[in-house]
Amino acid sequence: MDLLLSPQLLAAALIAGVLYALVALGLNLIYGTMRLLNVAHGELVMLGGYVAYWSFALLGAGPWPALILSPLATGLLGDALYRGLFRQLLANSALAQRIEANSLLLFFGVSIILQNLVSLAFTATPRGYQPFAAMVDLGAANLTGGRLLALFVAGIVTIAAVLLLRFNTVGLAIKALIQNREAASLAGIDIEKLERWSFVAGFAIAGLAGALVSMVEQLSPFMGFPYMIAAFVIIILGGLGNLTGSLIGGLVLGLLETYGVALTSPNYRSILVYGVFIAVLLVRPQGLLGRARIVR
């Protein structure tokens, strides 16, 4: 019982939840606005991680430059990919018909290329680093510096993003875009500019998540897959296109991972996570906060 009520466990749940939410947020911005199934999302996290590692190793200024450099790098990549590939896909009406299937394949190709380019460039040898050797004693809970930083940065960014998108004009425009692309265009919203910025923002956020993750995990070219899976599970769980939903979904996953395990047993961790996901979808086929469609 002590354990269940401990602040340490709560902190762990929050960190897990908020990191999941951050990764999912980036994906939702791309999927929700443009229905592009970004299966390369994990590779963006991986890239962000590598940029962070190299900036730490080469610049010697601690982990801080990475928080800017990683999202910058992946954001720029996003811009290049948008202009080079995806703008074409979105504009071509024949392709846009089966946009999920087509974007799935496009991004799958991108993900394979990214993984293998990085493997060629840096070899598959795993790397890791610790920016903060010291532990931070928060009184009730102890956290390693890296985890505390992750909690802080991921927490701030996700909440800021959700608030921004709720109350800001750009945010409202994005919501309009998510709800009904044609109507939004008729209402005078510059669709292409908005799509481009969502795309870039989604990529940048993934890169930031990668930078945070790199401080507490080993880096290797093929590490992205689990992040991509988690991101998809969360955005589906929360309801596609609903950014608040993905925040909630991320937190639910984080809570399941910690409290679910504490209440049952560690063996069941993945069974719980996937089990709950499937159960929710079977009961509510549109996710927790997604828009309902008539389903029989």
């Binding site: 493997s119 040898t125 890791g128 680093y129 610790q130 390693t144 080993q218 093929f222 961790r269």
Partner: protein, 391 residues
């Protein structure tokens, strides 16, 4: 006039000499293998591939591999098995029947070794294994595959229990990743601990994609055990190192299965790694093994990173064994088989001799990190430094 003829004669003689010299420049010895360059195991395989490359470079620098008296340069024929055993089977069939390589080296990983055992058996092609460890190895027919490792689960369980007893541990926590190797060890470990009278206060498993161990480690902390045995893989080993520290686990004996021997792990955890015990039977610190330190230094010089104390050492050992067998037996498969089965080999890990498929000379050992260096701390007779409880 004479000078002209002389010159011509010399020229012809020179050409003839050059011709015979190139004719005698030996053809390469082709050694085939597959390695996981992409996929699930890609992060683990470089430590093995690097050892292979280092060996090839060193041997070729001396003129080549000694094949029953003649030196021939080594050429690798390497394929990516994509971390897929089915692919590995296909590759080894190709190496043997299509590429017709002269010798074989092993792929990375236990599933791969098992998968190709049948192929080796069918074509009667001997190969020295390395990165595989399971009691099921003993079920394989000897004669075409051998395993130099001493980190076999049942022996490890016994030795670990003995080591704990020797250091006065009365209680233990066993945390197991649900992957084959770690599960196999646990299966032998729990009874071994029971037999040794050590109370197992926490005995939990977790899936390989775990992302947080706080709940589990909180339980371990509350149990206040003398020994924490984390049968973990690199990703969860990292989780353990960080989160055990957060949870304030102060057990004097802490064992982490896979991870500590990898180069990046030491760099990531620095001083925190000191005191951690892990599997391994090789260390450059052992003076009795004159080849050990030079291998370590050569690896560091070539790759700018430490070798993996387990995988890189084993991979290199398998090369040395092959090298010594071929020097004696040439390329004839039957003779190589005979050589590997009977010779005692001189490796970076000391002497190695096989009985059936297993290495019977190298004892099952454990390493402990002290001041950033890997020391052999068990068994006591073979230790390079005494075991120190973790503070």
């Amino acid at each position: 006039m004479f000078k002209k003829w002389m010159g011509a004669a010399l020229a012809v003689a020179g050409l003839a000499l050059a011709a015979t010299a190139t004719a005698q420049a030996a053809d390469p010895v082709r050694i085939g293998f597959s390695i996981a360059q992409t996929g699930l195991f890609a992060a683990a395989a470089p430590s093995q591939l690097n050892a292979y490359e280092l060996w090839k470079e060193q041997v070729n620098a001396t003129g080549g591999l000694d094949v029953g008296g003649t030196k021939r340069p080594i050429e690798f024929v390497m394929y990516d098995d994509q971390s897929n055993p089915e692919q590995t089977v296909k590759i080894y069939e190709k190496l043997i029947t299509e590429d017709k390589v002269d010798l074989l080296l092993a792929p990375w990983g236990t599933p791969m070794h098992f998968a190709i055992a049948g192929v080796l058996e069918k074509h009667q092609f001997p190969m020295v294994g390395n990165s595989a460890a399971s009691v099921q190895l003993r079920d394989l027919k000897p004669g075409n595959i051998w395993f130099p490792t001493s980190a076999i689960p049942d022996r490890m369980a016994d030795e670990l229990a003995k080591m704990l007893t020797a250091n006065g541990a009365k209680t233990a926590a066993v945390l197991t990743n649900q992957l084959p190797f770690s599960l196999e060890i646990k299966q032998f470990l729990i009874p071994a601990l029971d037999k040794a009278g050590i109370k197992v206060a926490v005995n939990d498993e977790y899936p390989p994609d775990v992302k947080d161990m706080t709940a589990l480690l909180g339980k371990v902390k509350a149990a206040n055990v003398d020994a924490v045995l984390a049968l973990s893989y690199p990703n969860d080993s990292i989780l353990y190192m960080n989160q055990a520290k957060e949870a304030g686990i102060k057990a004097p004996f802490q064992f982490v299965l896979v991870g500590p021997t990898i180069d990046f792990f030491g760099k990531m955890f620095g001083k925190d790694l000191d005191g951690i015990v892990t599997i391994g039977h090789w260390t450059p610190a052992k003076a009795d093994w004159p080849k050990a330190k030079p291998f370590f230094d050569a690896y560091v010089a070539k790759f700018n990173a430490n070798p993996d104390y387990l995988d890189s050492a084993l991979a290199y050992m398998s090369c040395e064994i092959l090298q010594q067998a071929v020097a004696k037996a040439g390329l004839d498969k039957a003779k190589i088989r005979e050589a590997i089965s009977t010779m005692t080999f001189d490796t970076i890990n000391g002497p190695v001799k096989f009985e059936g498929v297993q290495n019977v000379t190298t004892p099952t050992s454990f390493l402990q990190f002290q001041d950033g260096k890997a020391q052999l701390v068990w068994p006591p007779e073979a230790a390079t430094a005494p075991y120190k409880p973790r503070t």
